[in-house]
Subunit: 516 residues, 2 copies
Amino acid sequence: MTELKNGWIKQISVPEPSLQNNTADAERVIAALKPALESENVSIDLGLLRRLPGLIRTSGPDLYAILFRRNHHWALVGLVPDADPAPPAGVAIDLGTSRVVLRLVNLLSGEPLAECSFDNPQVAVGPDILTRIHHADRPEGRAHLRDLIVNGLNQEITRLCRGCGLEPAGLFLAAVSGNTAMTHLFMGLDPKWIIREPYIPVINRPDPVKAADLGLALNPLARVFIFPNIGSYFGGDLIAGILFSGLHLREETTLLVDVGTNAEVVLGNRNWLIACAGAAGPALEGGVTKMGMMAGPGVIDRVTLDPDAKQFKIGTIDNLPPVGICGSGLIDLAACLFLSGMLDIRGKLVPERCDGRIRETEGLAQFVVVPEKDSGTGRDLTISQADIDSLVRSKAAMYTILETISQSVGTALHDLSAFFVAGTFGSFINPRSAISIGMLPDLPLATYRSLGNSSLGGATRLLTDADCLNEIDRIRDSITYLELNVNQDFMNRFSAAKFLPHTNRDLFPSVDREGP
Amino acid sequence: MTELKNGWIKQISVPEPSLQNNTADAERVIAALKPALESENVSIDLGLLRRLPGLIRTSGPDLYAILFRRNHHWALVGLVPDADPAPPAGVAIDLGTSRVVLRLVNLLSGEPLAECSFDNPQVAVGPDILTRIHHADRPEGRAHLRDLIVNGLNQEITRLCRGCGLEPAGLFLAAVSGNTAMTHLFMGLDPKWIIREPYIPVINRPDPVKAADLGLALNPLARVFIFPNIGSYFGGDLIAGILFSGLHLREETTLLVDVGTNAEVVLGNRNWLIACAGAAGPALEGGVTKMGMMAGPGVIDRVTLDPDAKQFKIGTIDNLPPVGICGSGLIDLAACLFLSGMLDIRGKLVPERCDGRIRETEGLAQFVVVPEKDSGTGRDLTISQADIDSLVRSKAAMYTILETISQSVGTALHDLSAFFVAGTFGSFINPRSAISIGMLPDLPLATYRSLGNSSLGGATRLLTDADCLNEIDRIRDSITYLELNVNQDFMNRFSAAKFLPHTNRDLFPSVDREGP
């Protein structure tokens, strides 16, 4: 019997019965598993038991057993002849509020097989989670939201499988990471108390659920692992992110930040973890500034300053004529405006330094980023002072959260050996720009590490390594959650951080700027 | 928190959440259970999680939690406000091949609430288990047999509940005991290999199954415990019988016998158990002799001899005119015939001593038990020499099995301090008559103890005492199964036991008879 590296699959050989060993089929399978599991604590679902006698008598004695564990109890999820051409597979699911990402994984090799992403179909009910939670107040609404996401997943999973010659019935494990509200909606749990003081989820640590019980079109007995949460505002997606970052295994103290509508921050090392979440402001997601939008074709995602010409160099996705700007573009732009003196340290536009790019529309000052002749919309692309104020509040909130969490444990931000930035924010943001406006601390650029989709990465890790289950429990149990009470101290810090880059310039020695 | 005596129910008080204790609903319930279970290893089904937030917020903090255990893992099956007028209940099911018996039990008090029995609807496919197993060869046949028994159970359970003001959804536990083939058919498992060498069940020790997965009309999350078997020919009904008898707890060695188509025998004490099963012959069940039948109105169940008048006194069920004879009546009759000298020690009718009650029909000697004028059928009720021969073979098989099992461990039958006789056989048989023909050993009559329906009794015990789960495991693990190889030694014993009461009269000192 070979033990495969991922731990969820064991290669077994089931002995034939005889008058000397007339143990039942199920018990012979369990006995064959015993050496690999160091446990006889294995249960076999009725659905598999019903197929078992035929299966072990026709498939030959050598089988892959796919298992899942809950504490010390194993569930046998599937048995596959080891001669089968299609490998047993699993699916990692990043259940985002706006966007859902799937990755098929070969459970034998641990290799990814295919990947896709799609808009969360619940957006039809409401783009924001709050609207959905209210919609879920009635059981019909809850069922509706569940149907939307489950049907969406089933459609995409089926398509993904077809693309690589797999049957959905050949998917035996799923790992789902999402925020607390999303995982509740996915499981059909009442999310009502998540948003009402004292902010109580239905469950922190869901048991593995059978795919059939969730309505997922995998093997009906497939076990679906849903990452645990710490509370209403600290979800399984971040636990998955910590798992993926390896933060919890390092000797030195490092930090992980995941920015969406909320900024979620984890600081720690292999001995302790502290976490908090706070509203970082929606400016970074797009949707607030008139020209702000999610990343997409023609969206400005890079802005650089030609210091001599005082000209911006604009980069758009797919190099199309610009139609709007996304979070990373906005941060770049703000940095350029500030470094060239067009913004003052309070974040206010300085008209006399703006080379005639200021326009007054409906009584509001607008800065023309792209004149109509160069834009993809046929109109000027502008941002207003109000848009910039919103960004400044966001960056101040972010820095204040970072400062608060690090000071709460007496760690200086400057001592961090690594600063992990998760998500699309982490992938696209230019740390240099974020430092210039004082959004991120002034660390050597090499300290910043983009993790990509760490939620999906953590879910994938679980599918490829059974030991992750213990790691996840350890992460969950070792996190101290810091409640960000907005007290006077926090507000003082926040006020100081509302300057560009900060009232205390000593914190940002690398930011070199002339001007008012 | 009060601990209720049966162990499956705990009275808990779930603390309200607060900003200081913002643990999720499920985890607060589990924490409230922890002191009673000495474990946090509790899982809550999705179906219950979906109702949990509303349930704990509207019911008041005091609840009955109904649980079931599998090894060290608890499943929370239901939560009921302790102010509810209807008690949480369970159902014990004796899944007989011919007859099914149900008993509703109040889980709080342990008291039985109602009981009923009905013919196993699978009889429509075949009265004997072999026909049904062949019918189950095709998946449709298997589904058909399962539907028959499950629908039959659902109908009767619903009727029973209605009779005592309960809802089927208020049934949270079920305990099912039956022979190995019946439990396989009930679970929808392929019974094919049970009857083919080397006689392999699909499973020996089924996991608790959710009622919904079996199609049972209880609470969908109710856990159904199915008694484990030792093998194809030693079923959960006998494990339940041992549990009910207490055989496995006694210091002194005692014996349990359950007679149906097979005679199943267990011998042992708290240190060891040995068991065997053998064909005892169908003579005892009715259906072989022309007048033989199952117990029912007008059936002769008692025969006594008036030694002076050489007349039989006949007792019938409900005191109706006699229409046939059942197993206990047949044994009485044979004893009377033998003791009055109408049967010789070889079990042959002695015409000259039969007072003209012998009649020749179609060349066969018939003994008139009831002349037509007294019978309820308008015809003579007779038994033939062939019928008596069949009974003699059965009684010889029974005695030989008892002798073989006791000699295998060096225990003399005469040393037994108690001899438990289970089932309807045990309830109705007159041990004096059985001793007279040498079917049972010549022990003081007080040694014989009738257990009634010990299969149902064991199932009921499990519902009223969670510790039985360990007892059942201990019983299962401590039984040595003795394969009754029909070898020369066995055949020699069998030949000796075919005499009335036995070739060795010293074994039956109490049988006092004159005659040839």
